[in-house]
């Protein structure tokens, strides 16, 4: 039985091994994203990749855990978390007051602007007010969904912002899509004929979400996040995907969505 005891000792001696963190699988940090949100999370030939995934990996490593990113539709991602399907959401979910009633959020791990996109050459939408009664495409249960509902009843729902943008590029389907500026820019890079209207309307704070009672885990995550921001890992990842540091933004004078 000597083997057994030595191996279990090894497990618990690992730094932050997570046995007190109420993890789904011992030693593994299981995190969810939609996988349909390029460039933050997407799958290529069966491999999950993107900014969110890299951040998750870095944080897991920092906590001494094996990263285990999974995907689940965004509409049901909070239900998934609260029904113990994974340990945390690292899926570009912005912190809002409403969501904060269901889950606990970490410090933001990037800032992004909520923006209106239209098909290239569209003239009748110049500002957010022009969205009134227009046909808007959004992903259900996003912050963009909430905004869209303020302006119109004619909303078409998608599981993926990227797909909504693809649909926007097709003549005759949608008038506008509300999504994150970076996601729209990525689509533009891919050759989609869409463009952003004006500046981002507001700034959101995508954060890592955990179950309300997982306070120890949240603390560990915040610690790990601080560490990777300080030691340059974060910057490396952000540069890799966007050529800039997403946290590097002047919050002076812009609306921050809560």
């Amino acid at each position: 039985g000597g083997d057994d005891s030595s191996s279990s000792e090894e497990g618990s001696s690992t730094e932050g091994g997570g046995s007190d963190l109420n993890l789904l699988e011992e030693g593994k940090f299981t995190t969810a994203s939609s996988g349909l949100y390029k460039p933050f999370s997407f799958e290529e030939g069966g491999n999950l990749d993107g900014f969110d995934i890299d951040i998750g990996n870095a944080i897991a490593e920092e906590m001494g855990l094996e990263p285990n990113p999974v995907t689940t539709p965004f509409e049901t991602i909070i239900q998934g978390l609260n029904t113990n399907r994974f340990d945390a959401i690292i899926g570009s979910m912005s912190k809002t007051a409403e969501r904060a009633e269901q889950v606990s959020f970490s410090d933001p791990y990037y800032y992004s602007g909520g923006a209106i996109f239209v098909r290239e050459g569209t003239t009748d939408i110049q500002s957010v007010e022009d969205l009134t009664d227009k046909k808007i495409g959004v992903v259900g249960q996003t912050t963009y969904d909430t905004v869209a509902q303020e302006y119109t009843e004619d909303i078409q729902y998608y599981s993926s912002d990227v797909v909504a943008l693809q649909d926007l590029a097709i003549e005759g389907r949608l008038d506008a899509v509300i999504t994150a500026d970076v996601v729209g820019f990525e689509a533009q890079n891919e050759g989609l004929a869409v463009e952003m209207i004006g500046d981002p309307l507001w700034v959101e704070q995508p954060s890592i979400a955990v179950r309300k009672d997982d306070e120890a885990l949240l603390e560990e995550i915040n610690k790990a996040l601080d560490t990777i921001i300080e030691n340059g890992t974060y910057d490396e990842i952000s540069q890799k995907w966007f050529g800039r540091n997403l946290l590097d933004i002047d919050l002076e004078g812009v609306e921050v969505l809560e």
């Binding site: 029904t83 113990n84 399907r85 990227v162 891919e190």
Partner: protein, 222 residues
């Protein structure tokens, strides 16, 4: 046209490692769904022919509910609805949903096969002095089982296609992968064509095997 063939080929070549893994998941879901469904179906079929009014009523309610609601609703209900009772992984929730769903259809397959056996078989058996149990186990069941295999094979093929719906709870099967592929590559036409091809080939393979088996049965009996 040839350009499309090239791009489809490119997408196929680029994605096949992932798709092969997803195919394994699809086949696992299908197999578990059918096996579980067969067990459930057998139980409910026996309840339906049991003669007990209560058991019959239970079986009828089960079958009515399952056949009266879409599979996708059943999947969601099982995965998100009943978590307070029991929490399962998305793969198992999907497989069990497929099994529970199939159970109702397979119950009807078994019931149909059993009731489809010429009543003369039962009468001949009884008139020879065999009791109900012997008649069932030695005369009716063996014939009914044989008769059930083609529709069960068919149900397997239906399940293969139905398994695409568990993408909604995030199981990485063929359709779910194709969906992501379509979103990230900005090539929906090619991606869904590749997805369709995977299913078509799988369905054709199993249809072929089923035919082979049916022919063998025919030959055995001729």
């Amino acid at each position: 046209m040839p350009e499309i063939i090239t791009t489809v080929y490119d997408v196929f070549m680029r994605t096949y490692p992932g798709f092969l893994e997803a195919t394994v998941v699809t086949l696992q879901l299908t197999a578990i769904g059918v096996i579980l469904g067969t067990v459930i179906g057998l139980v409910f079929a026996l309840m339906k022919i049991s003669g007990s009014k209560i058991l019959q009523a239970i079986a009828n309610i089960y079958i009515t509910i399952i056949r009266g609601t879409p599979l996708i609703v059943q999947i969601m209900f099982l995965y998100f609805g009943i978590v307070e009772l029991y929490t399962m992984s998305n793969f198992w929730a999907g497989a069990i949903a497929l099994g529970v769903h199939n159970g109702a259809y397979i119950a009807e397959i078994f019931r149909g096969s059993i009731q489809g056996i010429d009543p003369g078989q039962r009468e001949a058996s009884m008139s020879l002095g065999m009791d109900r149990r012997q008649t069932m186990s030695r005369i009716v069941f063996p014939q009914a089982l044989r008769r059930s295999i083609p529709p069960l094979g068919n149900q397997f093929i239906i399940t293969l296609k139905d398994s695409s719906l568990v993408y909604i709870i995030g199981v990485a099967e063929i359709f779910s992968l194709g969906n992501r592929e379509a979103a990230q590559s900005y090539q929906p036409f090619e991606s869904f064509l590749v997805v369709a091809l995977y299913y078509l080939v799988l369905v054709m393979i199993f249809t072929f095997l089923l035919r082979l088996y049916e022919n063998k049965l025919d030959v055995d009996r001729a």
